[in-house]
């Protein structure tokens, strides 16, 4: 099933925004941004910058004809800061010049005076000060207060998870071209073309119909271009409108890292109660989400943390509280998993701590508490077609968990400086936008007279293979060869009011819409076939591999002939269709409902080796049984699983977003922010497709795949931690991720931490481990 996307990719022929034609008179924009985390803008002097050779304009908040507002969920974020700044990296001005170099050089001549205010970076402190983006959110089930008394073990603790840079290899960018009548055509690298359209219209004070947004494809998104692609497109549109010249903004890598938000870091407290047998009876958890300086998508991310706070387990009594805390950091944003991973890390930590206290393995607790058919989630939905236990048990058997565990124990007895750890990581992830109205999509299908097909949907192709999947769906509906189908760029004039391509829902929503549009045409074609063949029952017409059958018998008609016939008979060969997920709802006030169309299940077994002399580690293997439903495209699905797992491992291990004491990003280049490379990614990975796993709620019984496997990566943390425990069995370890080499070594040798060091070397920004309480 080769699709043209990947064929073009390997030939270097795929066109990304920066690769498109350069329109005549193209100018380049460079964003000037705040270097102060919090303060009042006293003055901005642009004179010198404007005089720089090649500069065509410098634009600030004052130049915005419409509303200076880009906030999506909450209107709390300006496009260009005019009176105050709330984080380092906040755009203040756009310099537009004949060349990239001139724009950048001129930006250095902008003189912006800022009076500095105190800044807050810690979400717990922000929460204490009442700096919340939205009121606290609480999910609850049963009654935790009554449940504690029934618990044999009650264990408390604290966890931290860090941010994560998306590091799509294609940086953010857009090209805006003025068109007649005061309109702007924008080519944008966005997951959310409608947001670009809406915000640009708002900024320019024009109706949305004046703005056309086209998305050829993305060189990776991962959530980082869901909300945060909008500003660059809107800025390009602003300049293009002012100067009536095409304007391109492509963020250089360092600016991309400095100016765009990342995965939300979380600080959390847990309290878990179990009975003697290891059944979890109660779980109380408080999440402090570091939202950064503006809401962005953080409120929705916060919700998903709560939705997934019990991961793959049934817990009868749950109270989960979440605070979205406003700090003076970059507004954090969507990142694959969307709050889910942050929630799951805490329950896994709680289980591990409980296991340590009880003197049993975490695996035993996990196993005993897995979700069963009909179990209720804290948000009121009950499991349907639950496959948590199936995946878990199949992983144990297929990969011989018992034998592996023995092997690890044996190894640890025989080796002094090198230790191994093994862990199991089950995952349950809900599929749907948790904001119900977003679960809609539409598709436009054209069949041309030569029998070829071109499809537009709301889905943006960013490597996740949504084009390939929609091609498969169309080829199945029409029963034609996949090479006849081309998926078009995503364009707001062809498909309006699009939901972002996110929440793993791209293929589900748009696949269903495309299926519906194809079916509309198919119905017409069946009638045409009857007319052509002088038969009377369209229901008996069937297309099988491009041949037309009637009542099971092959007719002389082929796909090509049928299309020709339809055209000559003046039958429409185009259709537009809309799809909305049925039977989902969520009452935000009560925090109860049925927000998800279905859940995805799976289990991973992860092994790691730690060099306890040097504090380094290696992920040895990742073995997975995953519920893909009936896969639409096994190459795409396998690739999504593998890629997500490695990204999740990266988040837990080597990827560390660091800020200095002033709120300046220290890890603002690929030389300081490291993502997995071919050597550090596990070589030994097996992903088994759970068999006999049709999903009645997905197109052709498939399941969503984009996000869920990322959370298997959480197992890497616990595998490393288990190996460390084998080296220092007497010690208590914390739950702070990422578990970098530095953290491993400082944890293994705490006694030596300050010995032999000059006092001035014990600097402040070393994060001491969270206090150990239980």
């Amino acid at each position: 099933m080769k699709t043209y996307d990947s064929i073009q990719h390997v030939r270097g022929e795929s066109k990304f925004v920066d690769d498109l034609f350069n329109p005549e008179g193209l100018l380049y924009g460079y964003v000037y941004y705040s270097s102060i985390a919090h303060g009042k803008i006293v003055s901005i002097n642009l004179k010198k910058a404007l005089k720089y050779a090649g500069v065509r304009g410098v634009f600030t908040a004052e130049d915005i004809p419409g509303e200076n507002q880009i906030g999506g969920i909450v209107p709390d974020e300006v496009l260009l800061a005019g009176s105050k700044v709330d984080f380092i990296g906040q755009p203040i001005a756009l310099v537009v010049a004949d060349t990239k170099l001139a724009a950048k050089s001129a930006s250095k001549l902008i003189d912006c005076k800022i009076e500095e205010y105190p800044a807050v970076f810690d979400p717990r402190i922000a929460c204490e000060k009442g700096e919340l983006i939205i009121p606290p959110r609480i999910f609850s089930l049963g009654d935790v207060n009554n449940a504690w008394s029934q618990c044999e073990y009650i264990v408390e603790g604290k966890t931290e998870t860090g941010g994560q840079e998306h590091l799509y290899i294609e940086t953010q960018g857009a090209v805006a071209i003025p068109v007649e009548g005061g309109g702007i055509k924008i080519y944008s690298s966005t997951q959310n073309p409608t947001a670009v359209q809406k915000v640009s219209a708002r900024i320019l004070n024009v109706p949305m119909h004046k703005i056309e947004v086209d998305v050829p494809r993305l060189g990776g998104g991962f959530g980082g271009k869901e909300d945060q692609a909008t500003a660059w497109a809107a800025l390009a549109a602003l300049a293009a409108s002012k100067l009536q010249r095409p304007v391109k903004i492509i963020l250089p890598r360092q600016e991309d890292m400095r100016l765009t938000g990342k995965r939300n870091p979380y600080s959390s407290d847990f309290k878990i109660g179990l009975n003697k047998e290891g059944m979890i009876l109660a779980y109380e958890v408080t999440f402090y989400q570091n939202a950064g300086a503006a809401a962005d998508l953080s409120p929705a991310i916060l919700d998903r943390t709560l939705f997934h706070c019990t991961n793959s387990y049934y817990i009868p009594n749950v109270k989960a509280t979440a605070y979205s805390c406003r700090t003076n950091l970059l507004p954090n944003t969507a990142f694959r998993g969307f709050g889910g991973p942050q929630g799951m890390f805490v329950i896994e930590s709680a289980i591990n701590r409980a296991a340590e206290v009880m003197g049993i393995s975490a695996h035993e607790i996990q196993r005993k508490n897995l979700l069963k058919e009909g179990d209720e989630f804290p948000y009121g939905q009950r499991t349907e077609h639950c496959r948590a236990i199936r995946c878990f048990e199949e992983a144990e058997q297929r990969y011989d968990f018992k034998m592996r565990k023995n092997y690890v124990e044996q190894f640890n007895q025989e080796n002094k400086l090198v230790k191994k750890g093994i862990t199991v990581m089950p995952v349950c992830f809900g599929i749907s936008f948790t904001t119900t109205f977003m679960n809609q999509a539409s598709a436009l299908v054209h069949v041309y007279t030569d029998g070829s097909v071109r499809i537009s949907t709301a889905a943006v192709e960013m490597g996740q293979g949504v084009n390939a999947k929609i091609s498969v769906i169309a080829s199945k509906v029409f029963s034609i060869d996949i090479s006849r189908i081309k998926i078009d760029s995503t364009n707001t004039t062809r498909i309006a009011n699009t939901s972002p391509t996110a929440a793993s829902k791209g293929a589900d929503l748009n696949g269903y819409a495309a299926m519906k549009a194809c079916e509309l045409i198919l119905e017409r074609l069946k009638k045409t076939a009857c007319n052509e063949l002088k038969f009377d029952d369209p229901k008996k017409v069937e297309i099988r591999e491009e041949h037309i059958f009637y009542d099971g018998n092959r007719t002389p008609l082929t796909w090509n002939k049928l299309i020709q016939a339809a055209y000559l008979r003046r039958v429409s060969l185009s259709a537009h269709a809309h799809h909305a997920t049925t039977d989902i709802y969520f009452d935000k006030e009560k925090a109860k409902g049925k927000p998800f169309a279905y859940h995805v299940y799976g289990t991973a077994i992860i092994e790691a080796t730690v060099d306890c002399l040097r504090g380094t580690y290696k992920i040895d293997s990742v073995k997975v049984v995953h519920d893909f439903g009936s896969s639409l495209h096994s190459v795409v699905d396998r690739g999504q699983a593998e890629g997500a797992i490695v990204q999740g491992i990266g988040w837990m291990t080597i990827e560390e977003v660091m800020f200095d004491g002033k709120g300046k990003l220290m890890t603002d280049a690929l030389s300081t922010y490291k993502v997995p490379d071919i050597q550090s990614a596990p070589k030994d990975m097996e992903v088994h497709f759970l068999e006999d796993a049709a999903n009645p709620f997905g197109p052709f019984n498939s399941k969503a795949i984009g996000e869920p496997p990322l959370m298997y990566g959480i197992g890497a943390f616990f595998a490393i931690r288990n190996a460390m425990k084998a080296f220092r069995p007497e010690r208590q370890f914390d739950f702070v991720a990422p578990i970098t080499n530095e953290r491993v070594l400082l944890t293994l040798y705490p006694a030596e931490r300050f010995s032999g060091m000059k006092p001035d070397l014990a600097i402040d920004d070393v994060k001491t481990p969270a206090a150990l309480v239980y």
């Binding site: 030939r11 190459v635 690739g639 797992i645 490291k674 071919i678 050597q679």
Partner: protein
């Protein structure tokens, strides 16, 4: 500031007047509109812009991968530049096909760089090893696939190539037959030979205007100052054959000032006399970086954490500096006066670096820890050269990087060790003692506290590795 540059771009002979400091990345994308080569980071850390550059060596062409974002077009003179577009046949070649079939490509942005690096591996090897092929991708980052599909693709390509009967043809011919390289590759040696007659190389003596920059590998300068390079008078010396020599005189090896890490790594002389050193070199940068970065550049860049410098300090290397008129020598450990401050006159360049070949009584070890093992700058590194009779330390030199403003030679720690019997207590004590010599700072590569602890651990690691029979590890952990 324009200069005439003559080379072959894919199948096209090119001769243009152009700013010699323009990067090949910008030339390909802006001038040629060949957009298969992508900009991902402009610092040699992602590999999306990787190209293959071939140079004439006798009758054959030697091809290597280079980050086009760090490569000035000046250095293309007389070379064959291959971008992804120059590899395309009518249909997909086997590498491209396997990358598609095995899910080695998702968003596609990094993919051309991967195809380029894989192709270059197959151009340079006639016997294939999947692990070595994966190492050839050490300069390429993919954020989508997790690399599993890429590894499967490599394996399948290897299986395919091994299934094709090969006569005594050279590898380029073989790959053309295997439909991996386009036919025009066979014409390149002749064409380059003809072209090379037209080329006028920079001769240092001809320069009258004082250059602002002297660039050899440029792998750091083009990261830090590419804008300034475009606007300055630059002297490019990487083509200077006189500075490319690696030779042995008596017991001393001389390494020319323009010798790259790759040339050092692959030199038979080095492999014979410093085998212990070469085995660590694949941890330095990436293959495309090593193909450009020079040993002298690593030294004058004066990064406190430089890998090559760290090793050379332990080997007690000497620098031989020249201004064309005056020459002088000094030990490397006297070269650093302070953070990025050198004991070097402005006009001086490193003519060569000299190393005494270690004897059979010498033990060498190198330790470096970084956040990620490959293509990452170390948090702390240390090299040790220990002369011992197997029991006692006769002589010792240890370096430590990342723990001071300069690449450090641990002078007092070495004195502390000298003459003593090797045992766990000595090592423990010395590792602790070393902390009095260092002054680490906290940065993105680790806290000062971590770096101190790490250095201690790595000093222990030297002895655990080199003298396992003399060390009780329990004492040290």
């Amino acid at each position: 500031m324009k200069k005439k540059i003559t080379f072959i771009c894919n199948d096209e002979n090119i001769s243009i007047e152009i700013n010699p400091a323009l990067t090949v990345l910008d030339y390909l994308r802006d001038n040629k509109r060949l957009t298969g080569t992508k900009e991902g980071c402009r610092e040699g850390d992602c590999g999306a812009c990787t190209v293959i550059v071939g140079r004439l060596n006798g009758k054959r062409i030697v091809y290597q991968t280079i980050n086009s974002c760090l490569l000035p077009i000046a250095d293309l003179n007389g070379k064959h530049l291959v971008s992804i577009e120059g590899l395309n046949l009518d249909g997909l070649n086997i590498i491209q096909e396997q990358m598609v079939d095995e899910g080695g490509t998702q968003c596609g942005f990094c993919t051309p760089g991967f195809i380029i690096s894989m192709t270059n591996y197959f151009i340079n090897h006639s016997e294939y090893d999947p692990e070595k092929a994966a190492l050839a991708l050490d300069g390429n980052i993919c954020r989508c696939t997790g690399y599993l599909g890429i590894r499967r693709a490599i394996q399948n390509v290897i299986a395919y190539l091994n299934s094709i009967p090969r006569k005594n043809s050279n590898q380029t011919d073989f790959l053309m037959k295997a439909q991996i390289l386009p036919e025009y590759f066979s014409s390149i040696p002749k064409r380059l030979k003809t072209l090379s007659k037209e080329i006028q190389y920079d001769k240092p003596t001809e320069k009258k205007i004082k250059p602002r920059y002297v660039v050899s590998g440029g792998t750091d300068l083009f990261v830090q100052k590419w804008e300034s390079l475009l606007e300055s008078n630059v002297r490019f010396i990487s083509g200077n054959e006189a500075l490319k020599e690696i030779r042995k005189e008596g017991n001393t090896i001389f390494i020319g000032g323009a010798v790259t890490i790759s040339e050092f790594e692959n030199s038979p002389l080095i492999r014979k006399h410093l085998p212990e050193v070469t085995k660590y070199l694949n941890l330095f940068g990436s293959q495309p970086i090593r193909n450009r970065a020079t040993i002298a550049g690593n030294i004058v860049n004066a990064s406190p954490i430089a890998d090559m410098t760290n090793i050379l300090l332990a080997l007690s290397a000497n620098l031989n500096l020249t201004t064309n008129k005056k020459k002088r020598s000094l030990p490397l450990n006297e070269f650093y006066l302070g953070y990025k401050t050198l004991n070097k006159k402005e006009k001086e360049i490193i003519e060569n670096i000299s190393i005494e070949i270690p004897s059979k009584e010498h033990y060498f070890n190198y330790e470096r820890i970084s956040r990620r093992t490959y293509l990452d700058i170390a948090s702390v590194n240390t090299a040790a050269l220990i002369k011992s009779d197997g029991k006692r330390i006769i002589d010792i030199s240890i370096s430590a990087g990342g723990v001071a403003p300069i690449p450090l030679y641990l002078k007092s720690t070495c004195n502390f060790f000298k003459g003593k019997e090797i045992n766990s207590d000595l090592v423990d004590e010395a590792a602790h003692y070393a902390l009095s010599e260092i002054s680490p700072i906290s940065d993105a590569r680790g806290s000062a506290e971590y770096k101190s602890l790490l250095l201690k651990q790595l000093l222990k690691a030297h002895f655990i590795k080199l003298f396992p029979q003399l060390i009780e590890v329990e004492v040290l952990v």
